[in-house]
Amino acid sequence: MATLRAIRKRIKSAKNIQQITRAMKLVAAAKLKKAQERILSARTYADKIKEVIAELIINVEEKEYPLLCENTEIKKEALILITSDKGLCGSFNSNLIKEAIYKLRQCEDLNFILIGKKGYDYLKKFGKEIDMFKYNDKKIDWYDVEEIGNVVLNGYIKKKYKKVNIIYSEFQSSLQQKIKKEILLPVKAEELLKEKIVKRDFIYEPDEKVVLNALLERYIKSILLRTILESQSAEHGVRMVSMEMATNNAGDMIKNLTLLANKTRQAAITKEILEIVGGAEAIKG
């Protein structure tokens, strides 16, 4: 049986851990709120672009736009994987990496574009080409997105990739993480057409083709920004929940250990009394 002192030491360390996890939970909650605000403020731009593209895309020949048609003659595909930089968020990253490996099994010739350190640390061992790596922290902004976007778009236009896939987590509620697998390129016209389309009487300058081409590139980049922000929200949500659970578990542990400590203490006292009584009996006798 453990000594009383050892048990007390364990109680103390469990209390320390509980304090840390509780603090981390609060930090994650604050960061979650900020990340969601960023999503909301990015929405105006993304929605507007989507609306205009949907309107323009109905009347176009897909062949004229490299971003709309699949490069069927090439085998190489690209995969953008968005993970987090830091751990302590449950199975958040391992779920994402699992999906990426599943994709890797389907398609051997795969180039990675990795956002987030955890995914990079794991996938660099596979010996696949990594076309781009970015840290996924709160400082990530439009400039970084532009860089990633340019790598993806250039690769696609120069017919380096057949398709560009993206795997990320979407924020649903802080309780669950929803992993999304989407095809970023080629842009699927049908999906855009699902939105309600308002046909407006517009003059496009210089012409519709130039406007659409420029907007498609921005559309891809705005999707990238959205997915990154979504995955950051999801990360903070998952971290909040897992830290909450860790705090509760530490609480349970403290409770059990306190009980054990009390029992041990009582046992020791009983033993001492017995010894004294026994000693007194022996002297009497």
Binding site: Y45, E147, R200, D201, E205, P206, L215, R218
Partner: protein, 142 residues
């Protein structure tokens, strides 16, 4: 008095929403102005200066790095990648940063330099510089 409802949004946030009297913007085919009740049209913007005249006659200039503008019957929507007010940046810093980057680009022997990244940053500084030079010229003219 007739006014225009103007919205300016960057990918990261909405930076302006309100009523204005007049807008001048750099289209890719040249600069154009918008007054209330303009016919609906859209175009792509080049990097340059957007001039906004408020209802009270105050003029504000914004350095933008390209984007998209839509004019419809209800409002004008300006989508730009970056927008900066001239008081937020000074021309000397931009010039210095531009020179630093050019120097870095020339020193091809260094291995720890990400040339692609610097190239992009350099282009951005140049477009900003261009915007602010236009700005200064215009101030003199006035």
């Amino acid at each position: 008095m007739k006014t225009i409802n103007l919205d300016i949004a960057t990918p990261e946030k909405k930076i302006f929403s309100g009523k204005v009297k007049e807008i001048t913007a750099p289209g890719i085919n040249g600069e154009f102005g918008i007054l209330p009740e303009h016919a609906p049209f859209t175009t792509i913007l080049a990097p340059g200066v957007v001039e906004i005249t408020y209802e009270n006659g105050k003029v504000e200039l914004l350095a933008v790095s390209g984007g998209y503008i839509e004019v419809n019957r209800e409002k004008v929507i300006l989508l730009v990648e970056t927008a900066q007010r001239p008081e937020e940046a000074d021309i000397e810093t931009i010039k210095r940063r531009k020179e630093e980057k050019e120097k870095l680009l020339k020193s091809k022997d260094k291995k720890d330099v990400d040339y692609d990244k610097i190239q992009i940053e350099l282009l951005r500084e140049i477009s900003k510089l261009k915007a602010f030079e236009t700005l200064q010229r215009r101030k003199k003219y006035k």
